[in-house]
Symmetry: C2
Subunit: 246 residues, 2 copies
């Protein structure tokens, strides 16, 4: 069932140590979190949480990719967040989640029971501080996405998403993960469509158009190449360095 194996258990070895909600913690605060943490894994495709259900735990994503989606009965679905390692799931002070959370690749979570976590929060100023910062960053990202959903053309949306993916391969310390001119898409066409507020057909068509225009190359179904990042950026509809804070 669980394919994402945990090869660590000490916070010091944790791959998201420097970015997650615990990033500012010193050894004593870390130790307090460490005492109540536990790991959980989900295979690709599995539901992690359903909107409206009481939420027992909060968690940080340690490995893998998950999505946050909102949908209505008639099947229309909008992705409202793409969760990557270090992102936080759940919110203190509310006992139900507003969105569906789904693992799109094998996912490993670092979980805390919500109640103890909330209680602990009072004693951990660095966690609170980081949580606020992360919430505000997500708010900025959500608002940028609102511009995309409300005003951008299909082509601009695709270009924006690809740009986002590229930027996500660049670590905050500037270190480039792998060749940035070639990116693996961690999500299906359907997930892309749900993220962009489009249909899969439109996603497919725009990808091939961008390919035919020489902006990108397509390698199989899950990878693209970008010969000229500037050319792709010019297609996003954003002003030069505008928005797209990752």
């Amino acid at each position: 069932m669980n394919t994402a194996k945990i090869e660590f258990s000490e916070c010091g070895d944790c791959p998201i140590r420097h970015r997650a909600v615990c990033s500012r913690c010193e050894t004593d605060e870390l130790e307090q979190l460490n005492k109540i943490k536990f790991y959980k894994s989900y295979p690709a495709g599995q539901t992690i949480a359903i909107r409206g259900e009481p939420l027992q735990n909060v968690a940080s994503i340690v490995a893998g990719t998950a999505t946050l989606t909102r949908s209505i009965e008639d099947g229309r679905t909008q992705m409202v967040g793409l969760l990557l390692p270090s992102d936080f799931i759940g919110r203190p002070g509310r006992d139900t989640l507003q969105y569906d959370v789904t693992a799109v690749s094998d996912v490993t979570l670092c979980c805390f029971q919500r109640k103890p976590f909330e209680k602990l929060l009072e004693d951990l100023p660095h966690v609170r501080e980081r949580l606020l910062e992360m919430a505000l960053d997500e708010l900025d990202a959500a608002r940028d996405w609102m511009l995309l959903l409300g005003r951008k053309t299909a082509r601009e949306r695709i270009a924006s998403l690809l740009t986002l993916m590229v930027k996500r391969t660049i670590r905050p310390d500037g270190e480039v993960m792998g060749n940035s001119s070639r990116i693996e898409l961690p999500i299906t066409r359907e997930a892309m469509a749900n993220y962009l507020g489009l249909t899969i057909e439109t996603v497919s068509r725009q990808l091939t158009k961008l390919k035919n225009d020489g902006i990108i190359g397509i390698e199989g179904k899950r990878a693209i190449t970008i010969p000229d990042l500037g050319a792709l950026l010019a297609e996003t509809g954003d002003d030069e360095d505008g928005g797209m804070i990752v």
Copy 2:
């Protein structure tokens, strides 16, 4: 110039005392904020802050309505937030704002210089706590709006906005402000269009269609009546009590 007059100066008399960033403060914390606060007013239509400019102050809206917008050079504009009394402008830890802030009615702000405020924040746990809560609420609202922008039809968007306006006239304590079956629209058609990711023409057309279908009544340009709130809710595309957390 300034038409919104301040008729108070003590925090105890402040109309947003129970909802704003200071809502959890006891007298001593309140006194600390009180020492560094100052009021500022802007007439309707005036720009409060421009994207990218260094931000000297943070502030709470005391009275009036302001908008948060994001736009691209070619003129496309998306509203990403509607700021009502008690809402907070600016974010600690970042010195530029990502969005344009505009007063749509006469606005009065309760301002703090950003740096002193950030410093003070370390000693005011209740402000931090409330700030986090408000940020998370805004994040939920932004994500609900993403569903609207990505997947809803024009008619559903209009109905959703009107529903939002109605809910905003209901105070958190359950007290209804005025007759909820009649609402004043605090914003122009253009602002509505920018909020909904539509054109003003479409907004206008859908409003008249809703009128012709008997869902709403239109009184002049800035007020509508809602004979049957349930009928309006049914047009939003949301599941019964779904989403729309205000």
